[in-house]
Amino acid sequence: MAEAKAPDTSATKGTPVGRRVFLGMVGLGAAGVVFGSKAQDWLEHVLAPITARDGTGLSTFLPVGRFRIYSVTGDLPSKSVADYRLKVGGHVDQPLELTFADLQAMPPTNLDKDFQCVTGWRVHNVKWTGVRLGDLLTKAGMRPGAGGVEFHSFDGEYTESLTLEQALRPDVIVAYSMEGKTVSSEHGGPVRMYVAPMYGYKSCKWLDGINVVAGRPQPGYWEERGYDVDGWVGKSNGRDDNPTS
């Protein structure tokens, strides 16, 4: 090239804003990891009036007050309402096999409560409709000596359990409706447990079996991997969340 290139001054002159933006993000990111669990509740309160008035639906994509979807099998199992069957058996006089419509025909219980995950997120005021687990157990007729209830998921993997005393609480339901609609596949539909006073892992998704046992029930999937068997919100797993029920 005949003409000498002018010295490249742009690289050395000027304020290193780029570096500041980069380091600022790294700093904010680190602060967010350490304090994020406290910041997210505050942010939810700040954003609530805005998201409530949002007509576009875009705010549903914001990471506030959202469910996170977990599955232990690597897939989201699904079953149509028509094909759905719930078996109630074990230590009972009258084993049941119920359709979705059978469940709907029973006296419904509505709960409007928070859903708290043991990993930290919480969804406020979720509207559930279902049948009290206690009503189902009564219908099946528990035999003397029944001590607990085990839940089975049609994902083929997940299990959960409650003591009989926990199972008979009025805020423990077999839920078929969430926010006014049939529980969707990613939320564990068409039918799942909702154990209001406990962390989310106690609320078995994709429920297809309820087994009454004599004595203590088997611990569930996550309990065998270290979670507390009695998963009360705020009183287990080393967490101090506000109670949900």
Binding site: K5, T12, V17, G29, A30, G32, G74, T119, S185, E186
Partner: protein, 226 residues
């Protein structure tokens, strides 16, 4: 014969991105689009239900995320990264003109910009930050049992918010690229029309040609890259 000549400058080209930079850009683009589309499948309920195969999608997301810094590091490291390293310096430094351009939202007519305008500079810094922060927070989320419970919540919080902002930024980036075909074209073929450079990046035009836009531009650049 009529003496009018087509002005030579009109047809001249300047090399804007060498081969290594273009390869880096498109490797990044493929990885980003992959992590973002798998993120959408994992995050948006109806998409999750429609696609299923959650574990597979998660694996793709995690491994492409881990691979994200690789193209940048490989390009920075070698002899082939000369052009990229020079551009990183350009992207880092903000001149007085950049600040004026930014304050006037690009409307100040007297601003003389260099090779990159402040929006591009912000975009580049943001993407660099995104790669590091998402890798760190994603690692806490993926290997959560090695970290305190609260960190998992905090990492998820940061990861999600940056993802939402990233979506907006990337959509904006792609939109602006299509609004300026010459700029987009230079990320494919390497060169830009010198007139574009004179209009849009006058300081860079000076640097490259040593002229203020009157003298002819020497076609001294080979667009085949390094």
């Amino acid at each position: 014969m009529v003496a009018t000549t087509t002005q030579p400058a009109e047809r001249e080209r300047l090399l804007r991105f060498d081969g290594a930079e273009r390869a880096l850009h498109w490797a990044n683009a493929v990885l980003f689009l992959t992590v973002m589309s798998t993120a959408a499948i994992l995050y948006v309920g109806p998409l999750s239900a429609a696609v299923g195969r959650r574990e597979l999608i998660r694996q793709i997301h995690v491994w492409c995320g881990i691979a994200l810094p690789v193209p940048v590091l490989v390009t920075l490291a070698g002899r082939w990264g000369k052009g990229f390293r020079a551009d990183v310096s350009r992207l880092n430094r903000w001149t007085k003109d950049d600040t004026r351009w930014f304050r006037s939202l690009g409307r100040d007519p007297y601003v003389q910009l260099g090779k990159f305008h402040p929006g591009q500079k912000l975009n580049a810094s943001f993407i660099a930050g995104v790669i590091v922060v998402m890798l760190a927070t994603g690692s806490v989320m993926n290997w959560f049992h090695y970290f305190p419970v609260d960190w998992r919540t905090g990492a998820t919080f940061v990861h999600d918010w940056i993802a939402v902002i990233l979506f907006v930024v990337v959509v904006g980036h792609i939109g602006m690229a299509f609004a300026d075909p010459e700029a987009l074209g230079s990320m494919v073929r390497g060169w830009v029309d010198a007139r574009w450079a004179r209009d849009r990046a006058p300081r860079w035009y000076e640097e490259e040609t040593g002229s203020h836009g009157q003298a002819d531009i020497l076609a001294g650049h080979d667009d085949a890259g390094d």
